[in-house]
């Protein structure tokens, strides 16, 4: 039983299932490429995605392999503390729903920076927002690519570098040819596959304990290294301040993730935007409840064999090994088939997330930096999309290269944690204040984003995960920077604003931004028609009026 996984040999069944999934996504990409002609279709899928579709796509964009395999693994290893991540990842969507989703849809166009540029000096504010986007996307993307390589190597038996390369090529094919439309459908398909696989596997696990979750808890507890501690907090996080810091980073980080915020530009109106968040919350919440059963199931049914020791310190293989075991065990037809299905689902999961990340990063480079900062809005739409495709290719190539050079030794979990910390400390404060604080100005946005990026990255570099002589704050060396870096991000926004001259344009622009963001005027209600024509227009299609200009 020690060598549960076919670590060396190629898993033919898994590759066969991959091929089916990948063929479908490539067919969709071909279909989408015919419809991806201008900037609105490339970044926002022509704003034609419905609320329900977008809910599935958000779920597909959000639930990474780190959620699927990582959280099941963390619960397997650390019991209760693993579950803390699930709670934070889910509750975070209330911040998105109550503060951002509809406003982003109404006031933005393709990127987070569009919201800034309404009232702030375009070039510095856009550059700062693009920086925040790119830093988050870079850490998240590299973490996902390394995770992809390691998982595919373990599950399918192909070499790490080749696995990273294959992931990167598919990711770039979807984005470059199919734009947001292809990315969206890849995410929807992935969400359906992932939910189905997780629910089926959970039901099988629950069936083994007579559909009594409490029995599953008890059997998992009995199998733990330290049974008395397994269902109690503290196995992973020994410092309470660190736990709270993690909780803060997860709660506010989601609301600053550029690839999630970008999804709200793909729906026709604010109503679809808020509906999509609630669908996403239903799907993601159900998924996290199920991962609990997978993590505890792996502990209860496999015991210590739910991991392959030093090959898999993070517990990432707990769920696949569980699938193999309930399918009949290693070597059985059922066991191999289950393992292959989980491997294929994990691959689809990674592809959907990395595609979303690359398209949001391409928006920051092409729409923000190139089109509006370098070319000052004088470029053609054709040029903007052309640059976006090149940018996606370059970003993808850099991520592939770093993942291959860094290899499977890169610590994936701290990079994902870092992405959330930067999103919470740099992007979220500036975005929230741009939408709600009248006095906020360009200097505040720039200093806020910079303070957030520098403090969160700096604290991780000085922290115990990286530094051999970690910095101590509050008497502990923090692995999670958010409790310090989020307040610093807000402070940077505040000080930058009050210490610089008032910007009359920023305050005047605030009225326009606020009216647009709260009412949807100009986005779902066409201004030209309503304002200038003698009579109110007849049925106007619900599209962003500003895009038609």
């Amino acid at each position: 039983m020690a060598a549960l996984l076919p670590l060396a040999e190629v898993n033919v069944e898994a590759i066969a299932i991959f091929s089916v999934v990948v063929s479908i996504t490539l067919a969709i990409t071909y279909w989408a490429s015919k419809r991806t002609t201008d900037a609105t279709s490339f970044w926002a899928a022509g704003r034609g995605i419905t609320g329900v579709q977008n809910g599935f796509a958000i779920a597909g964009d959000y639930m990474s392999a780190a959620s699927f395999l990582g959280i099941a693994g963390l619960i397997f290893l650390f019991g209760f503390d693993g579950f803390l991540y699930s709670v934070g990842f889910l509750v975070a969507f209330l911040i998105v729903l109550y503060l951002l989703a509809e406003r982003m849809r109404n006031a933005g166009k393709f990127t987070m920076a569009d919201v800034f540029s309404f009232r702030l000096n375009e070039r510095p504010a856009r550059t700062a927002a693009a920086l925040g986007t790119l830093v988050v996307a870079a850490f998240y993307l590299i973490a996902q690519m390394v995770g992809a390589g390691a998982l595919i190597e373990a599950l399918v038996g192909i070499n790490f570098n080749l696995a990273v390369l294959i992931t990167g090529i598919f990711m770039l094919t979807y984005v470059i040819f199919g734009g947001m439309l292809a990315t969206t459908w890849v995410q929807i398909i992935k969400a359906v596959l992932l939910m189905t696989a997780t629910i089926v596997l959970s039901l099988i696990v629950l069936g083994k304990v007579g559909f009594n979750p409490v029995e599953l808890f008890n059997r998992a507890e009995a199998q733990a290294d330290d049974p008395s501690a397994y269902l109690t907090p503290g196995l992973r996080f020994t410092e309470p301040v660190d736990t709270i810091s993690l909780g803060l980073g997860l709660l506010l980080g989601t609301a600053g993730l550029p690839h999630i915020l970008m999804r709200f530009f793909t729906v026709p109106d604010a109503k679809a935007a808020r509906t999509s968040v609630v669908w996403a919350v239903g799907l993601i919440g159900t998924f996290y409840v199920m991962t609990t059963f997978l993590g505890f199931g792996a502990r209860a049914l496999l015991g210590e064999e739910g991991t392959t020791g030093n090959v898999d310190e993070a517990g990432n293989l707990a769920a696949p090994l569980l699938a193999q075991s309930v399918g009949g065990g290693e070597g059985s037809i059922g066991g191999d088939a289950f393992l292959a299905i989980i491997a294929a689902v994990a691959f689809a999961t990674i592809l959907a997330v990395v595609a979303g990340l690359v398209i949001s990063a391409s928006g920051a480079v092409a729409h923000d930096v190139w089109s509006n900062v370098v070319r000052k809005g004088r470029d053609s739409e054709h040029e903007e999309v052309y640059v976006a495709r090149i940018a996606a290719g370059v970003i993808g190539a850099i991520a592939i290269t770093i993942a291959i050079i860094g290899g499977s030794d890169l610590n994936v979990s701290y990079m994902v944690g870092l992405a959330f910390a930067v999103a919470a400390s740099a992007n979220f404060p500036a975005l929230l204040l741009a939408l709600t604080w009248r006095r906020f100005n360009t200097t505040g946005a720039v200093t806020g984003v910079l303070t957030g990026v520098v403090s969160s990255v700096g604290l991780v570099l000085l922290g115990p995960d990286v530094s051999s002589n970690p910095l101590e704050l509050f008497g502990v060396s923090l692995t999670q920077p958010a409790i310090v870096s989020v307040p610093l991000g807000f402070l940077g926004c505040y000080l930058g604003t009050v210490l610089s001259r008032e910007e009359s344009r920023a305050e005047r622009g605030f009225n326009e931004l606020q009216v647009r963001a709260e009412t949807g005027l100009g986005a779902e209600i066409p201004i030209e028609g309503a304002g200038l024509r003698a009579q109110a227009p007849k049925r106007k299609p619900v599209t962003a009026a500003r895009d038609e200009g």
């Binding site: 109550y98 239903g282 089109s371 809005g377 739409e381 030209e528 309503a530 227009p537």
Partner: protein, 127 residues
């Protein structure tokens, strides 16, 4: 197509944004929204960070069994899930019933500052 040109073209559409922001309809929308969002998010912060703080500072309490090994910690964690689902549903309900009609009136006032009764056509609403 870039944001600058968008803004110019829409400003040219004749909407007086400052007047729109000061209109009683818009101010009422802001007030209604704030008086719903602020208390709800306040509750979310208290309930969520209360849970996280208990996990950090009171692990023994969280580990206490309520029913055959099902612990206080898991009960509180599940309550976070229920809270998220419930407050998501509540927001949709509030937006449909309160915010949308107010937003529509504020938008009408913005494009027809004189207060004539013509309705802004919002097109087909998707749901």
């Amino acid at each position: 197509m870039a944001a600058t040109t968008d803004r110019d073209s829409s400003s040219a559409s004749g909407v007086d944004w400052d007047a729109a922001a000061k209109s009683p309809e818009f101010q009422e929308l802001l007030r209604k929204r704030r008086s719903f969002v602020v208390p709800v998010l306040g509750f979310v912060f208290v309930w969520y960070f209360g849970f996280i703080a208990l996990a950090g500072y009171a692990p023994d309490f969280m580990g206490e069994s309520i029913y055959q090994g099902f612990t206080v910690g898991y009960l509180l964690a599940l309550s976070q899930f229920v809270m998220t689902w419930f407050l998501g549903w509540l927001y949709l309900r509030q937006a449909d019933r309160v915010f949308d009609p107010l937003a529509r009136r504020a938008a009408e006032r913005a494009v027809k500052p004189a207060g004539t009764a013509e309705t802004v056509d919002r097109g087909e609403e998707t749901s």
